[in-house]
Symmetry: C2
Subunit: 134 residues, 2 copies
DNA sequence: ATGAATATATGCATTACGCATATATGTTAT
DNA sequence: ATAACATATATGCGTAATGCATATATTCAT
């Protein structure tokens, strides 16, 4: 039984149902180039509260995205404070983003299906109770 | 920086952004008691295609759910074929399901925010191009 | 007896995180 | 001058939820 194609839990071989951070960063970098610390602030504007993610994870995700050729980075010196590693999205990264957005759309439909199913059951229970005079 | 409360990626200590299988099984078991093999079929009716999940994962998830006291199981002999381990949802499982549905609702909102943001950027690009006479 | 269908389970690997911690550089207050 | 703070990046360790492959057992039809 069972071979995987475009799974709910998995796309290809990876369990990438959770790639919110990566998708969000790609989206921000599609808007404009940026470095890690600024991206953290931009995520906040974007709807993430600063308690909701880990800054270490952000940097690690950016390094991984560069390894995957979704972004490239260069060191920017000269401003105030320490050097900044500035990231730019690549064409490959833009394509990945488009695909990930499609994945989010199908994920959203699945979630809606579950929620609807739950609420239909709840309604049914209520009308059962009404039928029984509860 | 950063302390975790009700993360996008995480609820408490666990990275449970992906718990579709568990939620789906709880939902099915809230409807009626069932055993693994039947649940696999019912998931199919439910919108999962049989290629989209792993039957081993299903059984492993059910055992974990029992460990967490979300379900209880008993062996049912006497029918045709091998013995079946029949699962029933507990009150604790029903509470967990209600909470997980709430989690799905907020997750859905987050997904919508990302999709909207992506599509807004695409529209903006188009009108930029129009402004530039492209 | 052989094979198919039914039924449950486990070992190994991977991914995307969280948390804690380390390191370094400017900037400001004392 | 030094201590504290804000800025900035990175890594080690651990975990949850999954996939894939494989093992085991029972019943039924041929």
């Amino acid at each position: 039984m069972m071979k995987n194609e475009e799974s709910l839990f998995c796309k290809g071989k990876a369990p990438n149902i959770k790639r919110f951070m990566e998708i969000s960063l790609l989206l921000l970098l599609a808007q404009e180039e940026s470095h890690g610390y600024t991206l953290a602030e931009r995520l906040t504007d974007f709807g993430f509260s600063s308690e909701e993610f880990n800054i270490g994870t952000l940097y690690r995700t950016l390094r991984k995205m560069e390894k995957d050729n979704y972004v490239i980075s260069k060191w920017q010196e000269g401003g105030q404070g320490p050097k900044k590693r500035v990231y730019q999205i690549t064409e490959s990264g833009k394509n990945a983003l488009a695909q990930l957005i499609e994945m989010l759309k199908s994920r959203k439909k699945r979630i809606e299906k579950l929620i609807d199913s739950y609420e239909y059951e709840s309604l049914k229970d209520k009308s059962d109770n009404i039928m029984k005079g509860k």
